[in-house]
Amino acid sequence: MTETVTVRVQRYRPEEDTAPWEQSFEVPYSEDLSILDALNQIKDQQDPTLSHRWSCRMAICGSCGVMVNNEPKLSCKTFLRDYREQAAVTVRALDNFPIERDLVSDISGFIDHLETVQPWLIRSEEQPVSAGAYPQTPEQMQRYAAFSQCINCGLCYAACPQFGRDPAFLGPGALALAQRYNLDSRDEGAAQRMQWLNAGEGVWSCTFVGYCSEVCPKDVDPAAAINRGKVASDINYAVNLLNILRGKDDA
């Protein structure tokens, strides 16, 4: 007889349910079975009404984020073998986001925050395409490389109690992305993005819980990015204050 594992899956069917509930499934166990494989097994063999998001199966697309035993995880990168000691594995939709259906979250608030910080190269004067690429040395690239690895999976938002308290907070992913462009030698948009760092919903809403960096599947370290943003915001404040004292415009 095949060994099985109990997987408890959160269900929420907007047509019938007023609140999420839990359904247990027995999944045939194997050493290389990921949580995503288990969810696909349930959907294909046991209950086709289960809804969950996935695409690449290799931690690149960022679609399959869920809570596994209360921790934000990519289901494709999390394996049942690591939960053998526990009686059951519980899979829920990501914390802090509205639940659309079963394990499917509505992450549009997070996507809006990403757009807010203007995550593209801003130049004071665009050079024509014929002038070629903007050159950059490997050392210059290294300064923002880690922050550019984000796959927009939203795990850091599920990990952030400040975002849970106030969804207007721009949050770890968006503020790390702002830092990624501010640190790019080809970019000249730091002054434009400063209004978002300085805003009430910006870096100062972060209290450095640091869990966002622990759960990030791509080692982006958003907590470091946000708190470096606080240093930049402090310097900006001091410079503005000095300019006002000297009778200049603060902008």
């Binding site: 802090n96 109690p161 849970g164 869990y211």
Partner: protein, 135 residues
């Protein structure tokens, strides 16, 4: 049909995960320091009321409860300082074309600075005590 379920943050969110509990422990180090500050301020107040009141306050400090508070406040301050300085190299990144300082050096500079400041304060206290004894 579009009827998303809105998840509300639970009041006990910080108890539900070891990472949150560590964070709250660090935040809670402010509480013994707050009590210690109140104690110091009460001492200052007694000082303004005259010698007898101040000596009585000094006598009160010998109570085991207040000694325990001092120990707790010291432990809390040390825990906060050590964990804070451990995080500094992530935030204070000095890496420009002209100047580059390694994260280890940034951390060491903060550790040395903290030790020098604390030793300096201790030395000042000892010198003041000696001067007072000399009079």
């Amino acid at each position: 049909m579009h009827k998303p379920y809105i998840q509300r943050q639970r009041a006990d969110w910080w108890l539900r995960n070891p990472a949150y509990r560590r964070y709250m422990l660090r935040e809670a180090t402010a509480l013994p320091l707050f009590l210690y500050t109140l104690l110091l301020m009460s001492g200052l107040f007694q000082f303004t009321r005259g010698e007898a009141a101040f000596l009585q306050w000094l006598e009160m400090l010998r109570s085991p409860w207040l000694l325990a508070l001092h120990g707790l406040a010291l432990a809390a301050a040390l825990f906060h300082a050590v964990t804070w300085i451990a995080l500094v190299p992530k935030i204070l990144v000095i890496d420009t074309d002209r100047l580059r300082v390694s994260p280890a050096a940034v951390k060491l500079a903060h550790q040395v600075g903290a030790v020098v400041c604390n030793a300096g304060l201790l030395l000042l206290a000892v010198l003041l005590l000696r001067a007072a004894a000399g009079n």
